[in-house]
Symmetry: C2
């Protein structure tokens, strides 16, 4: 074998043997960040994570993908990202190392080596978001960063009835933030799948002052959960009838739905692949 | 009636008719404060509340008493304070006004006019504190400010068994921070009642990763709950046997008990009068 061939075969074998795809499960407090996606001049989860990765592997690292972006102020209990590395560092040591470099506002909860084909965004089968409402006359300093304070009574029965209209495959254009060029370019969602999504369930529970609204879907448009929650709250206040939700969906007009609920009440709960 | 007598009777009648004693129930996020009690150069709950009171009544206001101090970082769901005022402002308007001036970290949840004899500290019959532990391998950014993260398994059965030894009337000197002159002067507790307290109950519950330890007593020494929790955690780790708690109590020696649990896990839950 000539020198050149040998070198080429070495490169190939190194490539084959050593590139690993690592899947991370992250929890973060969104109030510390200007959202997930990297942007100049503002701290984001992506930048913070990539800085920790770069320190750990002693080279400039980038993640390959995240299950989706979360907006500024939105939290995550189980956000999924993946990145490639040639390092042989055991998953457990990657996790310990990253958690050493990450600030208190982010933690890696799970680290797994996965097949190279795994992609944190394209392979998503479904996601669950939870929205938390603090339903009490007075605001709650101890829950302020993680809830939307609504000081008036809400009709949960009407809200649950309205929630049923979201379940199924619908065009959610009425519950999607106005499409901007940036959004089109960035997420690809609008272009590829239009605004049709399948909502598997909308569950509303209440325990003491805390109302939790869990929405599971095969995918979400930008601001979709927050617009659904804003609409459900207006149903709870009697401003919109439960049955009106059907008409709002059919209208495909953002101005027909309720207000966009504040970011701090929202958390990405789980992602299924 | 002479001019002087008239003036004197006016003062008396104004005093009789218009001094009111107002009881407030407060919730606050202790991570924003250097404890409850006013001190120079650092933001405290008392100072923040007195500033709001002074703005509302347009004069220099002070509270009469609080059910007790909370240390820096300790939260409260229902702290009780009282203050005197000659204002005729309705309780509801006092509450709305105070909440307007208070920052997001403090809220008045209840405002009541009470008999002049009511004193928020002297009249306490019992208090309940809750301590929250985040018992999971990984730390939790979303619970970090309100829990103590313990990444190792805890034997809850042993902890519950140990908890039983605290219930009843005991000398809690082993669970009290070293007595300083400041402490003696400030609280008066040590001087009046010594270090004997009656613990009514110690309840330990677990739900997912969260362990809650609720302690009810007729009064608490400085750091008492945090020292009890630190000791229970060492029992849960097998460092102290449940039955050893009896000996630690009898020793009346702070060095025998477990470590002082961090402030952020603690919250004043309720005060009974």
């Amino acid at each position: 074998m000539g020198k050149k061939t040998l070198k080429a075969s070495r490169i190939i074998s190194r490539k084959k043997s050593s590139v690993r795809n690592i899947k991370l499960t992250l929890e973060y407090d969104g109030s510390s960040f200007y959202g997930f996606q990297r942007q100049p001049h503002f701290p984001t989860v992506q930048e913070t994570l990539e800085q920790a990765l770069s320190k750990l592997f002693n080279s400039r690292m980038k993640i390959k993908a995240a299950s989706g972006r979360t907006d500024a102020g939105v939290h995550a209990e189980n956000q999924i990202v993946n990145f490639y590395t040639r390092s042989l560092l055991a998953a457990e040591k990657i996790q310990r190392g990253l958690n050493h470099y990450l600030p208190a506002s982010v933690v890696v909860k799970k680290t797994e080596a996965v097949p190279l084909s795994f992609h944190a965004r394209y392979d998503v089968r479904s996601k669950v978001y939870e929205y938390r409402i603090w339903n009490s006359i007075h605001r709650s300093p101890l829950s302020a960063n993680q809830t939307w304070h609504i000081p008036v009574a809400l009709d949960l029965k009407a809200m649950r009835s309205a929630a049923g209209y979201f379940v199924g495959t619908h065009d959610f254009r009425s519950f999607c933030v106005k499409t901007s060029l940036t959004f089109k370019k960035g997420s690809g969602d609008i272009c590829q799948r239009g605004t049709v999504r399948t909502v598997r369930s909308v569950e509303i529970t209440k325990r003491e002052e805390m109302i939790r609204i869990r929405v599971e879907a095969n995918g979400f448009l930008h601001h979709m959960v927050r617009n659904i929650v804003g609409t459900l709250v207006e149903v709870g206040q009697g401003k919109i009838g439960p049955k009106d939700v059907r008409g709002i969906l059919l209208a495909k007009d953002r101005t027909r739905a309720g207000r966009n609920a504040p970011a701090c009440g929202l958390r990405l709960l789980n992602v299924s692949y």
